[in-house]
Subunit: 313 residues, 2 copies
């Protein structure tokens, strides 16, 4: 290949770099630093292939591909991230591409197969928990898929809580996840209804691709003070019911307009605080306050994680 | 690399494949066939980095990058094309990425450095000339850059005319182009004003990145019957003056709505025929009719040329 051929970074190399706890710490820090600069970040409108208003892929009508592109003008590169998912029988896929702003040349192709998207998504969830200053004695997890595992991996970097309750639609998947977590988590149990988490967990992370709410407010009181919504980020999808969103004292999002359009707060009239503000000022927190944080994912995270991987090569 | 690593196709391999006249013939045919299916093609909105409404790249404020993505649902792949340009001191750059609709996996990365974008653009220009049934005794070229050369290369596949007149802003660049063309073209000369082309050439191809019109109607009559506009495809750019567009009997575009928005027919009220219709029915042609064809480039062309290259590997 020519001398200026792009660097091809394989999944194996990426997993070697990203598997260390120090990388996880650096990532959460870098994501935090990135969100402090979000006002400078230039993100192009997301391209979504295989989804309305475009026709579905004929070969896999459930699959979709998102192209997220953006850059900090003060950096020397721009990042294009391709992530596909929705395939019922396989993991997500994708890659990240880093280009020179000065020449337009592709400098590096990170063949992460979606791993970096999972990680940068998990990093935002962990950041949202790190920013919570209340006591966390028990964590709740809604969902038992790949992203639940990434969340649980990075959460260990930001909280000393090792008590976990899990809910998922499939009892066997819940059990498989619980079995996997033995050893790393001290006390892990399944709950029968997601609503039980609202009684027993201080913070809950949701990681499903639900089209219908999976977490509903039942009764007047609940003990949860922080709900971090990581899943469902497409128009018409949502993980929480409206009563829960109505009950919240603060709504926070990585990208408020996007959360209103395709995230957890669709058609929501309440104020949504940007994550940047919470990094600077903290959450509104009191005895009985409920904060709901929604991440629908922004290109900034892709720019941050791809740079971090390249730096670590 | 893993067994399902994408195929990386180097510029050298691409140039070997694309340099044969038979590839050029196949390309023009495939582009024509593609446009007949354009109603099925699913194109995502173009992402443009480095240009308004986003901030320019700080490292090169003239550069821009376009991401064009799309697919035929009835095919098994989708294509993402990254093309950057506007760098004053270097060629355009870019690549084409072919993914499986069934798995979302990157199947092939074509490191064409912009060559395939030049070729697929030239193929549409040649198709526009091929569809013209009038006599072409003299061709006119406005512009002396890379795309002018690609046009002149592919035009030889669709017309037997070898008489050419060239206009460009820089006399030395005009001379350099003329010198290069000696041998392949029988009679090549420079003209002093672009308007002379309207008197002496039956068909004119424009390939500049002009922000101001470079071809103006002077006086009432001109002999040109076909103007093919290949350059300038961004909001606020245009190669023809309004009087010329007003004088045309038929306006044609590869993508009429896009030509109104960012092509040659910005804010134009006249009917614009889609290229597909002209492939099926021919141009409106008479003794004194003027047809203006505008190509602003569509993702379909990227899907077609990348498939053709992969088939030829």
């Amino acid at each position: 290949m020519a001398e200026n051929a792009p660097k091809i970074v394989t999944l194996e190399e990426i997993e070697k770099i990203t598997s260390s706890p120090s990388f996880e710490d650096e990532l959460i820090e870098a994501i935090k630093a990135g969100f402090l600069r979000i006002d400078d970040f230039q993100a192009a409108p997301i391209q979504t292939l295989g989804a309305a208003p475009l026709q579905p892929f004929a070969t896999d009508s459930t699959a979709q591909t998102c192209v997220k592109s953006g850059y900090f003008p003060s950096d020397s590169t721009y990042t294009i991230k391709v992530a596909s998912g929705g395939h019922p029988w396989m993991h997500n896929s994708g890659n990240m591409q880093v280009y020179s702003q000065a020449t337009g040349k592709l400098q590096a192709l990170l063949l992460d197969e979606g791993v970096l998207t999972e990680l940068r998504t998990a990093a935002v969830g962990s950041l949202a928990v790190q920013l919570f200053k209340g006591t966390i004695q028990c964590l709740g997890m809604v969902g038992t898929g790949v992203q639940a595992r990434y969340q649980l991996r990075l959460l260990q970097r930001v909280t000393s809580c090792r008590k976990l309750r899990v809910w998922g639609r499939s009892a066997s998947k819940v059990q498989a996840l619980i079995d996997e977590l033995q050893g790393t988590w001290e006390e892990v149990e399944a709950v029968k209804d997601a609503e039980e988490l609202l009684q027993s967990c201080d913070a809950i992370i949701t990681t499903t691709s639900a089209r219908e709410p999976v977490l509903r407010a039942t009764g007047d009181s609940f003990n949860t003070r922080l709900i971090v919504c990581i899943g469902s980020d497409a128009p018409g999808k949502g993980e929480l019911d409206q009563a829960l969103i109505d009950a919240a004292h603060q709504l926070v999002a990585d990208n408020p307009p996007q959360s209103r359009e395709r995230g957890e707060f669709q058609q929501c009239k309440k104020t949504i605080s940007p994550l940047k503000q919470v990094i600077q000022e903290g959450y509104i927190q009191g005895e009985n306050t409920l904060v709901i944080f929604d991440s629908s994912g922004v290109a900034l995270q892709d720019a941050v994680i791809s740079q971090l991987v390249l730096k670590s090569l």
